[in-house]
């Protein structure tokens, strides 16, 4: 493999955005028939590198060569025509069109009059999906299918093009374990066909399972290129964040007794979203919710916050049943909820850090009682410092911040309300390792101070590290509640998720 010549080389790539040098003299190469992981924290320049490669952005300096010839794509279409296809993190398909059309649009088979041959489109679409072991109605509108299926359709679209280079930008972040394996099977087959695959993922296990080689970026600069099997995980993380990572231990202290129930869900359920469940969260306790994507984790969080209406059961706060019909009602009981969808359900991108930070507090006070400017300044500067939010400029628009810093602002939005129960839905997803560790530490501190936390994460290690108790979900049903003692490991947790409630 090392003997083969690169299909793609990028040399000395630099890209300047207003105020930021996103890429600074980066080299990158892709060999045919390899899976090449592009690694780095958020803001390291991974997305920018992909965007300059596919022609979304121009490059300021450097050269890109495909098959030895210099190229400069004017856009994704030109890149695709030259054999570079991309599947992005967020599914970029048109959900209003049919599955078949999504695979073929822009290159539908046509007769010589330019008329689209619909039968052929449908037949070939079904054929391609069969290669991915996906048996669905290709004439149905894409919106009828789950996000995971949509992701596979996006990949089907990408592999149908006679691609030399396939870029997968965090394709697995919304897939469950089975779907990830399905994707990996496809990736291996494509690799055997000689396609070079550029793979981006935040899941280290996946990187080690599938990739042959990796390139690491940090702060827009190249750290180096390594063979995956020669680079231990600890070293990889160290190279990504540029410092030795502290030993990962369980962050909560010795076993404590929690006997003051704060929020109790009694046979609470919502038709089609989550089966009735009973769960008690005590003061000062961190309860982890573990389960696969779509197992009902987010649904539980939304019910407890009043974002959705329950169809059965009741919620009791401090022992008294309370109807939580709106987020406002939940907030009046000091319940806070940080959504997993940072962009669509958290940020107000056009507003500043300050405005985003005080928004919930202002909403709780009502607009007729404005928060005095001096109090705003005090709160903002306290939390910007406490959470290490960068840049530390409260009047910066929040959309200019990196993902991790945006997440910290959203956390701060809820922390200034001094909630008694903080619901965190995937607070560490898609953010860099450094910010992740800071947020985890913060959760441990908060619960130490008496706040109850409901912590949702797809990463079982993280759930185990933080929680006192873990509630396990499977197929929209709460199947087990496990105390987090020394006997509980990621393996036993995984078995519970897989086996449906009978810990081994």
């Amino acid at each position: 493999m090392t003997a083969s010549t690169p299909v793609l080389t990028m040399t000395g790539i630099s890209k300047q955005f207003p105020g930021v040098k996103a890429l600074d003299g980066v080299d990158f190469r892709l060999l045919p028939g390899e899976v090449h992981a592009l690694m780095g924290e958020n803001g390291a320049g991974k997305s920018t590198l992909i965007k300059v490669l596919t022609g979304v952005h121009d490059i300021d300096e450097g050269r890109i060569e495909l098959d030895g010839a210099r190229v400069a794509f004017t856009g994704p279409l030109a890149a695709q025509q030259a054999g570079i296809s991309t599947v992005y993190q967020e599914v970029n398909l048109c959900t209003n069109l049919s599955v078949a059309e999504n695979i073929f649009i822009g290159r539908e088979p046509r007769d010589r009059w330019g008329r689209i041959r619909w039968k052929e489109v449908r037949r070939r679409a079904a054929g391609i999906l069969a290669r991915l072991d996906l048996d669905i109605d290709v004439t149905a509108s894409l919106s009828a299918y789950s996000l995971a299926v949509q992701q596979l359709v996006a990949i089907a679209r990408a592999i149908d093009v006679q691609a030399k280079v396939l870029i997968l930008d965090e394709p697995t972040s919304s897939l469950d374990a089975g779907e990830v394996q399905q994707l990996f099977r496809v990736m291996r087959r494509l690799k055997d066909d000689g396609i070079a695959i550029l793979f981006v993922s935040h899941f280290l296990d996946q990187i080690y399972e599938i990739s042959d080689r990796m390139t690491i970026l940090r702060n827009g600069r190249l750290v180096g290129e390594y063979l995956t099997k020669e680079l231990p995980q600890v070293e990889l993380v160290a190279k990504m964040i540029g410092q030795e990572l502290a030993e990962l231990e369980r962050l909560h202290g010795t076993a404590k007794v929690f006997d003051r129930p704060l929020v109790e869900a009694r046979e609470l359920g919502r038709a089609g979203a989550i089966e009735p469940f009973t769960l008690t969260i005590h003061e000062g306790e961190v309860v982890g919710l573990a389960g696969l994507l779509g197992s009902g984790r987010t649904e539980i969080a939304r019910l407890l916050f009043g974002a959705d209406h329950a169809s059965t059961g009741e919620i009791a706060i401090g022992g008294t049943p309370q109807p939580l019909r709106t987020p406002r009602a939940a907030m009046s009981h000091k319940i806070a909820f940080c959504s997993e969808n940072r962009r669509s359900e958290g940020l107000i991108p056009d507003l500043t850090v300050r405005e985003n930070l005080v928004l919930a507090l202002q909403a709780a006070r009502g607009w007729t009682r404005p928060l005095p400017r001096s109090r705003q300044d005090e709160l903002v500067s306290r939390y910007v410092a406490a959470l290490n939010i960068r840049p530390a400029d409260p009047d910066q628009l929040i959309r200019n911040l990196s993902g991790g810093n945006q997440q910290k602002v959203l956390l701060a939005r809820w922390l200034i309300l001094e909630p008694r129960l903080l619901i965190l839905d995937e607070p560490t997803r898609g953010i860099d390792v450094g910010a992740k560790a800071e947020i985890q530490r913060l959760v441990a501190e908060l619960s130490g101070g008496g706040m109850a936390v409901l912590f949702i994460s797809a990463e079982l290690e993280e759930v185990l590290r933080l929680s006192h108790r873990v509630a396990v979900l499977r197929d929209r049903r709460l199947v087990a509640e496990l105390d987090n003692d020394d006997r509980l490991t990621t393996e036993s947790l995984m078995e519970t998720i897989a086996g449906g409630g009978h810990p081994a």
Binding site: Y88, N92, G106, G114
Partner: protein, 308 residues
């Protein structure tokens, strides 16, 4: 769209029961004859709305087309040159607006609003009075009756309008451009990343709309035999209403041309019913259209909720 068809049938039957001489084939054909230009304009607008855009300039471009036609004919130009020039003008206006919308990222609402001002303004600079059309070719076109069977007849404009509908339906469903229109309306970002020529698609739909408006203007000139800056005032509203009643989502990405045709027919039938009623004043038309819009939008809303 089925609802629209049902409504049309119901109105037609109710009209037939209530008024003598209503339930004849000629009534339906008359709706076509009286609204051929609106149909053509609405077809063009359907393209724009499917991409999630809007074109407020259509009525003004129609008026400008009648005005240019009338004044050039008065100046002695041959009819074919006039029509060719007017259509070219529509293409240029539409394409220009599309280009500004796309390249400078300004909202379609504002750009086509400016286009509307521009077109109406140009009308008034040509002249503030109505200019009659006496060109023999135009008058012949206006007065020709094409007899169908059993005393039924249509005007040549109807043929043109039907041809436009057929061509447009073919383009939308059987060409890559047509599918790109739907994709752009579904998600512009995705369409771009899927490598579709979004820029070309967006500019083209406004060009199509400009062309259709100019053609609609020519048809209106046949119908009215005059050019006037106050022709087709508020027509953009009728056209938008027809598209919406026809089931196209204003957010783009979903809808059919046949729906637009039915939408135009329903609007036309309302006018017919009101003229048959006799005692109802003309402003009831507006109130009815408003009420209909409300009903249809609520229906769309209901169905999309059930779908999700």
């Amino acid at each position: 769209m089925l609802v629209t068809a049902g409504l049309f049938a119901a109105m037609f039957v109710a009209g037939g029961v209530r008024y003598e001489g209503f339930a004849t084939g000629q009534i339906v054909l008359n709706v076509f004859i009286d609204n051929g230009f609106l149909l053509v304009v609405a077809v063009g607008l359907t393209f724009v709305i499917l991409t999630g855009g809007i074109d407020l300039s259509v009525g003004a471009v129609v008026a400008l087309s009648t005005m240019v036609s009338a004044s050039l004919l008065q100046a002695g130009w041959p009819w074919w040159a006039v029509i060719a020039l007017v259509l070219a003008m529509g293409v240029v206006l539409g394409g220009g607006m599309g280009a500004i919308i796309h390249f400078f990222g300004i909202q379609p609402f504002i750009v086509t609003l400016a286009g509307m001002f521009l077109a109406r303004g140009l009308c008034y600079t040509i002249g503030t009075d109505s200019i009659p059309i006496t060109d023999p070719a135009f008058t012949a076109f206006a007065q020709t009756r094409i007899d169908l069977f059993a005393d039924l007849w249509i005007s040549p404009s109807v043929l043109i309008a039907v041809a436009v509908v057929l061509v447009a339906a073919y383009v939308l469903h059987y060409t890559r451009f047509g599918r790109a229109v739907y994709a752009t309306g579904g998600s512009e970002q995705s369409a771009l990343l899927m490598g579709l020529p979004v820029a070309r698609t967006k500019i083209t739909v406004y060009t199509v709309s400009g062309l259709c408006s100019a053609l609609g203007g020519v048809l209106l000139a046949f119908y009215m035999l005059s050019g006037y800056g106050l022709h087709a005032v508020g027509m953009e509203l009728d056209a938008i209403a027809a598209v919406v009643i026809g089931g196209t989502l204003l957010t783009g990405g979903s809808g059919y041309l046949l729906g637009t045709v039915l939408g135009v027919l329903v609007l036309g039938l309302i006018q017919t019913v009101i003229s048959f009623e006799g005692t109802l004043s003309s402003w009831w038309t507006k109130i009815f259209i408003g009420a209909l819009l409300l009903v249809f939008i609520l229906l769309q809303r209901l169905m999309s909720r059930r779908g999700a």
